[in-house]
């Protein structure tokens, strides 16, 4: 009986239009009239409010004319009315940056002991004044379905490099989004953060060792956000393998895959957090560069094989007031490589099997203690692993003088920065740098400026 009741109600509803069609016409007209009345009522009231407001405004201005700073004119002058041709121009922002560097050791022999050099963007850079990369970002909606971003870096060497250039979907449903082109990979926490938004002058050592600073993919990313109140994001990427530790392959298709998951949420009104895990599997073919031992010697060589990397990351932010914030973050990375090395110690190419697992982590905290001031500390620690070399082609085995003992590069950094506004930041950073792990600490002082011009960029968490 109970189950029948809704059905009966539906039937009654459904028959209603047939029985009461004449009455309905009258009712519809009435409703329309009512709607018109209320609409005009609303308009008249809104006009009255405006007039009233203008009156009070002019009254107030007259009263205050003696002392008050003149309020800006009330008439609307939309900024976009400047011209229809430029109205659709992408939002543009420009980052200017630079450093003054002082090091106690020669920066030319800086290296991360036991790790293969991963790219040009590692290390403290040169001494004295250094112009940083000037970053130009253009971004806009492409149409109702896509948006696009280009970030070009103009380097101090007068070169232009494409940092990022990607499209992104905006209108997929169910939490899906797709990104394609060149983009900063979503692995870890800091990888996606642009240089101008870093809390220190440079990336943690583990990022420099594993990705040469930041991992960029020339490829495709698919992300899915779960429909839960807890933030849960899953994603996958693939690319052409152009970026360290992978290389371009001599075959069709793509190189490697990346999987990542991030979870996050709030604890009360003042604390938020995010944690994540990422996994990369990639291949390298004739990748140049080899680990360097504590004496700084390395043989000309190249690596061919599989590379697998794990990243675990976490960040907690505590913001008890609009003027104070504590941010603590840590990431751990671990990479296993398995393949062959070609050595050319004296013009004589030799092949050896190579297997190693290298890892490292950093922990940093940044505290905003006054509206414009922040202090931060960071500790880096790396483990070069115990490389296992088993010469394949030569018998008896030859000692290539390769680093076989585990090395432990370390660094401690302190920073203080001052941000007069959201668009400018001046920073001083001091490092006790033992990346070479040879018993002699490099004391590095860097003074840095970062300025943002143009469009107000929204920052990621």
């Amino acid at each position: 009986m109970k189950a029948l009741r809704p059905v009966a109600a539906l039937m009654a509803l459904a028959t209603l239009p047939v029985i009461a069609s004449a009455d309905e016409d009258v009712a519809a007209l009435r409703a329309e009239l009512q709607a018109l009345k209320s609409e005009y009522g609303a308009r008249v009231q809104s006009l009255e409010t405006r007039i009233e407001k203008l009156e009070t405004a002019s009254q107030a201005t007259a009263d205050a004319a003696a002392l008050a700073p003149a309020p800006s004119p009330v008439e609307p002058a939309p900024a976009s009315s400047s011209g229809s041709a430029s109205a659709f121009n992408p939002a543009m922002s420009l980052i200017l940056g630079g450093t003054f560097t002082n090091t106690s050791r020669d920066p030319a022999d800086w290296r991360i002991a036991g790790f293969a050099p991963a790219g040009d963007e590692s290390g403290p850079g040169e001494r004295s004044f250094n112009l940083g990369e000037s970053e130009l970002t253009l971004s806009a909606s492409i149409d109702p379905y896509f948006s696009g971003v280009l970030t070009a870096a103009i380097t101090a060497d007068n070169e232009i490099a494409v940092e990022e250039a990607f499209f992104r979907t905006t209108s997929l449903l169910n939490g899906f989004s797709v990104k394609g082109g060149r983009f900063l990979s979503s692995v870890g926490y800091l990888n996606e953060v642009h240089a101008h938004a870093w809390d220190f002058t440079d990336q943690p050592l583990i990022y420099q060792a594993m990705f040469g600073g930041q991992l960029r993919q020339d490829g495709l990313q698919v992300k899915w956000l779960a429909p839960t109140d807890l933030f849960l994001e899953l994603g996958a990427e693939t690319g052409n393998g152009d970026a360290y530790p992978a290389t371009r392959l001599e075959s069709n298709g793509f190189n490697g895959a990346t999987l990542f998951a991030h979870v996050g949420g709030d604890i009360g009104d003042t604390t938020s957090w995010r944690a994540g895990a990422s996994w990369l599997t990639q291949q390298a073919e004739n990748r140049a560069g080899a680990p360097v031992d504590e004496s700084g010697t390395t043989a000309f060589d190249s690596f061919t094989g599989d590379s697998e990397t794990w990243v675990v990351d976490g960040v907690v932010k505590w913001k008890p007031s609009p003027r104070r914030e504590l941010k603590v973050q840590a990431e751990y990375m671990r990479r296993s490589e398995d393949g062959t090395y070609v050595f050319d110690p004296a013009g004589l190419a030799a092949l050896t099997n190579y297997r190693n697992t290298q890892s490292g982590w950093y922990l940093q905290g940044v505290y905003q203690f006054a509206p414009r001031w922040r202090v931060g500390a960071r500790y880096d620690s790396l483990d070069s692993g115990n490389a296992l070399y088993t010469p394949a082609a030569i018998d008896p085995p030859i000692d290539f003088g390769l680093p076989s003992s585990a090395l432990h590069p370390e660094r401690v950094s302190l920073m203080l920065d001052w941000s007069p506004s959201e668009f400018s930041r001046l920073r001083a950073q001091f490092d006790w740098d033992d990346a070479r792990d040879d018993g002699e600490t490099d004391r590095i002082l860097r003074l840095q400026y970062v300025y943002g011009l143009g469009a107000h960029g929204a920052h990621k968490y």
Binding site: M11, P17, A57, Q59, L67, A79
Partner: protein
């Protein structure tokens, strides 16, 4: 035959529209828009508010929890006019939710229903934290609340057309209560007209315009720029010949500068709730204005 087919179709349509009758999920950027949506939507809306009255809406982060809320939201109610420019675009972009993208019906900006004050005639960052479309801190003029309520009702009805009559009835009820309250506030606040005040940030401008308070100086030398000791010193010199009656600041502001100035120019610093939740009495929109006016009147004696 045709009639019975009609009956079947109508019943089918009724059945299909049933699942859609779940409450609308709304993500509001400020407690004020959250409270307004709740007033208008009642039990038909499930509102999540991104910020509290103790936070500075300019400087909120795109926290993971907010991205998760944006993902499932049917409607985002924001101020617009670039007030939330530092974080809302990231939420919308990361949400993977086509319903709330800019220009979609699930993206509502209160400023679109209003005429903003202080629209700058020229733009340059040397002028401080200015907003190209005008001053976005619109909620402290209750006339604005009434205008936004109308536009928001239309939007709720568009998103949930089956319940249009419900929203219309609630809007009518709210409008009636608001008009009565507004008249009472304006009568009560009549003695405040012409009272000379120092404001903290330009987010108190709409309140001054509404009540006829005369803004004689601002503690921030430029919008978003904190005062220096030298600037505060010059302010004392400027204000001493004809001191202000009140110094206004918001619950989320740092009271140091205002208190320092209050001592020197012998005018009380009044902490106003600014947003719903900014004081124990500002429990809802009515409480927000009751409390604001009570605090102003009490300090003006």
């Amino acid at each position: 035959m045709k009639k019975s087919l009609n009956i079947i179709l109508v019943s089918l349509a009724a059945l299909i529209s049933l699942p859609a009758s779940a409450a609308l999920k709304v993500l509001a950027t400020t407690p004020d828009w959250g409270a307004l949506t709740q007033e208008l939507g009642g039990e038909r809306v499930d509102v999540y508010v991104a910020t509290t009255a103790m936070q500075d809406v300019h400087r909120v982060e795109a926290r993971p929890s907010l991205v998760a809320r944006a993902r499932s939201a049917d409607l985002v109610v924001s101020t617009g006019a670039e007030l939330e420019v530092g974080w809302l675009p990231v939420l919308i972009q990361e949400s993977g939710n086509a319903r709330i993208q800019r220009g979609a019906s699930g993206n509502f900006e209160a400023a679109s229903a209003l005429r903003l004050l202080e629209v700058p005639s020229s733009l340059d960052r040397s002028m401080g934290d200015i907003h190209p479309q005008g001053n976005p801190h619109v909620q402290l003029d209750p006339h604005n609340i009434a205008l936004v309520a109308r536009a928001l009702t239309a939007r709720l009805s568009a998103l949930d057309p089956a319940q249009a009559a419900f929203y219309a009835a609630r809007a009518k009820d709210f409008d009636a209560r608001w008009s009565t309250a507004l008249t009472a506030w304006e009568q009560k606040a009549a003695p405040l007209k012409g009272v000379r005040v120092v404001i903290m940030h330009r987010d108190q401008v709409y309140l001054c315009h509404w009540l006829g308070l005369v803004e004689v100086a601002s503690i921030e030398p430029k919008p978003g720029v904190p005062p220096t000791a030298a600037y505060l010193g010059s302010l004392v010199g400027k204000l001493t010949p004809e001191p202000p009656k009140l110094i206004l600041l918001n619950a989320y502001n740092d009271p140091k500068a205002a208190n320092w100035l209050a001592e020197r120019v012998h005018a009380p610093a009044v902490v106003l709730p600014f947003s719903v939740g900014g004081s124990p009495a500002a429990k809802d929109l009515f409480g927000l204005f009751d409390d604001t006016i009570n605090k102003l009147l009490a300090a003006n004696k």
